[in-house]
C-alpha cells in the first residue's frame, strides 16, 4: 500500500511517502498558499519515488494549512501526528516538545503513542520559531545560523518575553557592545525558559523528545536541557515527525 502524509506548517511544508517499506520525504517553504505547497509536496514525492498519483491509496494532511488542502482523505491535528511519528521513532518517549514557526506545544503520550494531554502556546510569538526569526533579522543573521553562533559562556540574559520588546532589548544590548554570541545564547535561554514553563505545568515525564523546525537549533536544545534538567532527544528528521505520523496513520487507516 502507498500512502502520503503531509504536514503544512506556517513556515515549511513537509511530506512523507511510504510505499512497500521504502520512504521518501521532502520539505519546501510553505509560502503564501498552503494549498499550492501541498500540491508541490505531492508532486515531488511522486517524482522521487516514481509513483503515479492514482497508485496512492490515502493522503492524510496535518498542520495549520490542513484545512485549505482539499485533496486530503483525512485531516488530523499535528498533535496526534507528532505523537504517532515519535512513537515510531522513539517508543520510550513520553513527552514531546514541538516548537514550530508560529506555536509551541507540549504533548504527553502514552505507551502506544496515544495523546494523553497537551498544552499549546498559540497566542503569542514568544517561545516560537517566529521569535527567533525576528531576533536573527535584528542581529543581521539568518535564523539557521543562530544555533552555531551562540556563546553560552558570555550569556546576555534577555528579560523581555514580548517579541517586540525583546527586539529593542537586543538592539540596545548590541549598542552597549555586548557580544553577539552571548546575546544569541540569551535568546535561546529565553525560548527555553518560556517553553520549559509549559512543560513543567504538564509535568516532565521521560524520555523527552524535541521536534519541529526549532529543534534543528542546538542552542535551544541546550537551553531546554538546562532548564528542565533532563536529556532531550532530537530526531535526525525532527521537522518531519508530523508528516511521518500522518503517513503512518494513513497506512493504518486510522
Amino acid at each position: 500500500m502507498i500512502v502520503i502524509g503531509i504536514d503544512i506548517g506556517s513556515v515549511a511544508a513537509k511530506g512523507y511517502i511510504i510505499s512497500s517499506g521504502h520512504h521518501h520525504r521532502t520539505i519546501i517553504p510553505t509560502g503564501w498558499s498552503p494549498r499550492d505547497a501541498g500540491q508541490v509536496i505531492i508532486d515531488q514525492l511522486l517524482d522521487a519515488s516514481r509513483i503515479e498519483r492514482d497508485q496512492v491509496e490515502r493522503i492524510y494532511v496535518t498542520g495549520y494549512g490542513r484545512v485549505a488542502f482539499e485533496q486530503a482523505d483525512k485531516t488530523i491535528t499535528e498533535i496526534k501526528c507528532h505523537a504517532r511519528g515519535i512513537a515510531e521513532l522513539y517508543p520510550e518517549v513520553r513527552t514531546i516538545i514541538d516548537i514550530g514557526g508560529q506555536d509551541s506545544k507540549v504533548i504527553r503520550i502514552g505507551e502506544k503513542g496515544q495523546v494523553l494531554d497537551f498544552a499549546m502556546n498559540d497566542k503569542c510569538a514568544a517561545g516560537t520559531g517566529r521569535f527567533l526569526q525576528v531576533m536573527a533579522t535584528a542581529l543581521g543573521l539568518d535564523v539557521s545560523e543562530l544555533g552555531h553562533a551562540e556563546e553560552p559562556g558570555q550569556m546576555q540574559t534577555i528579560s523581555s518575553m514580548c517579541t517586540v520588546f525583546a527586539e529593542s532589548e537586543i538592539i540596545g544590548s548590541l549598542a552597549r557592545g555586548n557580544p553577539k554570541g552571548g546575546i544569541i545564547a540569551g535568546l535561546h535561554q529565553s525560548v527555553g525558559k518560556r517553553v520549559a514553563a509549559m512543560v513543567r505545568r504538564m509535568g516532565i515525564k521521560e524520555q523527552v523528545a524535541f521536534t519541529g523546525g526549532v529543534a534543528i537549533n542546538p542552542g535551544v536544545k541546550r537551553a531546554l536541557e538546562e532548564e528542565l534538567g533532563t536529556r532531550i532527544i532530537v530526531p535526525e528528521a525532527c521537522q518531519y515527525t508530523g508528516a511521518l505520523g500522518a503517513a503512518l496513520l494513513a497506512l493504518e487507516n486510522r
Binding site: 491535528t77 496526534k80 506555536d103 496515544q114 494523553l116 494531554d117 497537551f118 499549546m120 498559540d122 497566542k123
Partner: protein, 424 residues
C-alpha cells in the same frame, strides 16, 4: 425586520455605528445558526428575537416606561430579579458579548480587562445598543475587581445600585446577602414608586422560578442520547432568557422542551448516537458570543451542558415558594442565590462538585473549561478544576479566549486534538 430607526434615534443612539453592527450580525447568525440541520421548530421564536434583536424587546421596554414602568439593567446572576418584577419593573440582563463593543470599552478601561466588561462599558459609551440606553437604573455587583471599578465609570452615565456580594458562604454571609436584598428592595421601591408586598414578591418568586423550571426542562432533554438539540441552540435559549419577559421566556422554553421530549421518545437527535458529548464550564457567554460552541460543534462534537452563568448557574436551584411573609421570602431568596457557585467565592469547592455531578448527569465524555481572557478568578480556579476532574479520569482541557476571531484557527486545532483524544 420592522423599522425601528425612529426608536433608535429617540434613544440618541449612534445610528451610523449601529448600522455597521446590524449589518454583521445577520451574516454571523446565518453562518453559525441557520446552517445547522434539523433544528427544533421551537427555535423559530429565538431566531425571530435575534432577527429583531435591537427592536422587538427594546420596544416593549419603552412601552413599559411610557406607562410609567421602570426598567433595570443587570449584569449578574446574583441580582434577584424577583424584587424588580415584584415592584412592577422589568429586569434585563445587559452583558455585552460582541467584539464590536470592545474598542469602546478600551477607551476608558485598562487593556487587561476581560472582554465582557469592555464590551458592556463600550456598548453604553458608544451608544450602539438600545438595551444599555433604556434602563432607568443599572444593578451591578462586586463579583470581580474589573467589574467593581467599571461600575464607578458607568455611574457617571446612569444611576447605579451595587449589590455587595459576600465572597464566602458562612451563615453570616447568607445573612449579609439577606441585608443586601433588603437594601435592594428599598432602592427598587423608591425608583418604581411601588411598595413590595409578600403577595407581589410571592408572585414574582413563582414567575422567576417558572422560568428556571422551564430552562431546566430544556437542559434535562440534553441528557438524552442522541441529543435532541445542539449546544448552540440551547445556549441561545439561555442567552435570550437573560432579558426576555420571564413569563414568555418560560412559555417558549416549555414548548421547546415539549418538542425535545417528543424527539427523545422518537430517538431523534441532531448529532449521531456516538457523537462526543462535551461540557463547557467556566465564564458566561453573553449574546452574541457563540465562538467556542461553534468551534466544538463544527468539529462534530455536541455541547450537552454549560456549567456557567449562561447555563446551569442561571437556573439551578429554586427559591422556596412556601415562604409566606416578606421576612421568610427574603431569607429564601438569600439562601437560593448563595447556592450559586461563582469563582468569586473562596473556597469554591462546591463548583467543582457541580462540575463532577453535571458530568455524570449529562454523561459527558470530556470537559472544556474556559474563561474569558484576563478573568483571573476563573483562570486560577481552572487549575483546581483540572486537578479534581483528572483524579476522576475525566478528560479536561482549559481554554482562555476573548471575543475576537484572531485565535479561531488555533482554538480549532486545540479542540480538534482534544476530540481526537476522546474519540479513541
Amino acid at each position: 425586520m420592522a423599522d425601528y430607526q425612529q426608536m433608535w434615534a429617540d434613544l440618541e443612539m449612534d445610528l451610523e455605528k449601529h448600522d455597521a453592527l446590524c449589518e454583521v450580525l445577520p451574516e454571523a447568525f446565518g453562518g453559525i445558526y441557520l446552517t445547522q440541520q434539523d433544528r427544533p421548530k421551537g427555535m423559530d421564536f429565538y431566531d425571530f428575537v435575534v432577527s429583531e434583536i435591537h427592536g422587538v424587546r427594546p420596544a416593549e421596554m419603552l412601552e413599559h416606561q411610557k406607562k410609567g414602568g421602570k426598567v433595570f439593567g443587570t449584569f449578574c446572576v446574583y441580582v434577584p430579579d424577583e424584587v424588580v418584577f415584584a415592584a412592577g419593573g422589568i429586569a434585563a440582563g445587559l452583558c455585552g458579548g460582541s467584539q464590536f463593543w470592545v474598542s469602546g470599552g478600551e477607551k476608558v478601561l485598562p487593556a487587561n480587562t476581560c472582554p465582557l466588561i469592555k464590551a458592556s462599558v463600550g456598548a453604553r459609551l458608544d451608544k450602539t445598543c438600545p438595551f444599555f440606553l433604556i434602563p432607568d437604573m443599572y444593578v451591578a455587583e462586586n463579583t470581580c475587581d474589573g467589574k467593581k471599578k467599571a461600575w464607578e465609570i458607568l455611574a457617571r452615565e446612569v444611576p447605579m445600585h451595587i449589590i455587595d456580594l459576600p465572597q464566602m458562604k458562612r451563615e453570616r454571609d447568607i445573612a449579609a446577602f439577606e441585608a443586601e436584598i433588603r437594601d435592594f428592595i428599598v432602592t427598587v421601591e423608591k425608583v418604581t414608586g411601588n411598595k413590595i408586598t409578600a403577595e407581589s414578591l410571592g408572585k414574582a418568586i413563582k414567575l422567576i422560578n417558572n422560568k428556571r423550571r422551564a430552562l431546566q426542562r430544556v437542559y434535562n432533554a440534553r441528557k438524552a442520547s442522541p441529543v435532541p438539540i445542539s449546544g448552540k441552540d440551547a445556549l441561545l435559549v439561555t442567552q435570550i432568557n437573560f432579558y426576555d419577559d420571564p413569563a414568555r421566556a418560560a412559555q417558549m422554553a416549555n414548548s421547546l422542551a415539549d418538542e425535545l421530549e417528543q424527539r427523545i421518545e422518537n430517538k431523534f437527535g441532531v448529532f449521531p448516537d456516538n457523537a462526543v458529548r462535551i461540557m463547557v464550564s467556566g465564564t458566561p457567554m453573553a449574546i452574541p458570543n457563540w465562538k467556542l460552541h461553534h468551534i466544538i460543534e463544527s468539529l462534530g462534537a455536541a455541547v450537552v451542558v454549560e456549567e456557567s452563568c449562561t447555563g446551569t448557574r442561571y437556573f439551578e436551584n429554586l427559591v422556596d415558594e412556601s415562604a409566606s411573609t416578606l421576612e421568610e421570602q427574603i431569607r429564601a431568596m438569600a439562601e437560593r442565590y448563595m447556592k450559586t457557585n461563582c469563582a468569586c467565592f473562596t473556597p469554591n469547592s462546591a463548583r467543582v462538585e457541580d462540575i463532577i455531578r453535571l458530568s455524570d448527569e449529562y454523561k459527558v465524555d470530556g470537559i472544556i473549561d474556559t474563561n474569558l481572557q484576563f478573568c483571573n478568578l476563573y483562570s486560577t480556579e481552572s487549575y483546581l478544576v483540572k486537578q479534581s476532574v483528572t483524579e476522576r479520569n475525566m478528560p479536561i482541557m482549559h481554554i482562555e479566549t476573548d471575543y475576537s476571531d484572531q485565535d479561531f484557527e488555533q482554538l480549532r486545532t486545540r479542540v480538534e486534538a482534544f476530540l481526537e483524544i476522546l474519540r479513541k
